[in-house]
Symmetry: C2
Subunit: 326 residues, 2 copies
Amino acid sequence: MSDLPTRIHIHEEGPREGFQFEPNAVPTGRKIELIEALAQTGLQELQIASFVNPKRVPGWADAEAVVTGVRKRPGVSYTVLWLNEQGFLRAAGMDGVTLKASITSSASETFMKLNQNQDYSKNAEVQNAFMRLYREHEVAFVRGAVMATFGCNFEGNVGVSKVISTVERIQEIAAAHAVKLDNLTLADTMAWATPQSVKRVVGAVRDRWPEIPITLHLHDTRGLGIANACAGLEMGVTSFDASVGGLGGCPFAGHRGAAGNVCTEDLVMLCEEMGIATGVDLDRLIDAALLAEEIVGHPLPGAVMHGRSLGQLRRKIGATPPAASC
Amino acid sequence: MSDLPTRIHIHEEGPREGFQFEPNAVPTGRKIELIEALAQTGLQELQIASFVNPKRVPGWADAEAVVTGVRKRPGVSYTVLWLNEQGFLRAAGMDGVTLKASITSSASETFMKLNQNQDYSKNAEVQNAFMRLYREHEVAFVRGAVMATFGCNFEGNVGVSKVISTVERIQEIAAAHAVKLDNLTLADTMAWATPQSVKRVVGAVRDRWPEIPITLHLHDTRGLGIANACAGLEMGVTSFDASVGGLGGCPFAGHRGAAGNVCTEDLVMLCEEMGIATGVDLDRLIDAALLAEEIVGHPLPGAVMHGRSLGQLRRKIGATPPAASC
């Protein structure tokens, strides 16, 4: 495991991902309460709202109110999601938000057709229009984002060559606008990744574009999220999307198929126990996860939030941290 | 990942572990129903009851009735747990049970003192007495079992040298009775393992005793169970204890600290997707996990049971399995 990084960066997506998904309306004040609690944990980047059509996603009708209401903490970046021009313009009009743009494509064209009614050609048009908009608004950060990187519910497993050609399409769009990608997010949109395929795909992408940092966006629908993150760490990946408490997923029968992101506390636990710094205070983060659980009113799928951190146990018994003891 | 095995063996412990833990009494008939469903999944070894003091563990007051009631399926081994002579004699009196004995010690003497009121010297006496009993009853299978292999809530992390000396103590007892250990179970009793420590400890134990097959008994209290199992697979481990649905653990607040075993379906999913045979029909096993959830009457922590198997999705869309497609 010689490629293990010494430090990783976590992009916390729980508020955006979780509140969008919750069946019961979460009051604006409680969304703000969770976001402010998360900002106190050491997490440095929080995705706090989704500027989407309130008729389609009523859970984010209050996006402006949430973003305005959050007391911004110095040193923390607040990001938001948008899916079309109108959403971007709403986001761009907000103070205190770091605009991070994506050039998005999918390693499965079938998924893109079914999910967004776009083939690759239409998607390139859409992404090019976005890029012109981003230039007008001087958006400083542009990442490439690959959906369905490891597999697709409609195509099956996705091979490495399709991922590479998808990144090539993204790079063509970036080049046409004289943009150098700041990051490449490999998203396991439908939870098909295994530790093996994470290693294979990350290795192939890194070999081809060694200069672009990779972020893994992993879903835990089938229980492999943390194992897949670990495979990413072993490949030297230093950036992960994650969701506090696993917000967005839910063990309830009525929510079956809910594809929560990999749980932030469980990821932090994995890293800290392996000597990889996250900058996060795990016990504070567990408190935030418990707050999230209270706010949504049902059990969240996170594990360490229910099992206590090892750091807490160590302090209780005066034991040394893992690096020193084994 | 060149050490990945081609096939693993799973010892299913869900019924024993889960029903012991459930706060509400599970009727004998429903226990039998789950066990019989599990026997139809391809699992070849099921731990179906616990012969313990019914006053202390009322959930297993019906151990005899369960063992007698289960229609035994040819090709499936049915094992049981006991903790003292009386429990062993009850177990030994049952038909259709495969008696598998353990010489048990703990890599944390503190844990053994607190949990069983035994120091190493007292434990050796107890284990020696067991061994005499096992010889009288011609028990054919004896494994070594190390508790607290990776860490202890009362001692902190456990270093490799303590695991090695614990196995040496177990080997001394075995040697005194002219027994060759059939297996060595490394148990992460209090969920302290990480993928790193699994690799380190398994590597050290295997280097020292290359002839003894290793079983990993992993708890998922802090969300690292499957990642730890994956680390074991990467070290060539071919035998795992697991629990259907994660029975024994529970995401409910009232059950916090519940340390469920690694979830059988999620482990099977991990293996099958990486081309490692388990002999188990994952979709049948998911049905058994959903039955277990219905029987206990609350959500179980398993993931793939709620997210559908990839095999099911592949069949629906006519996609090829992973080995062929990537």
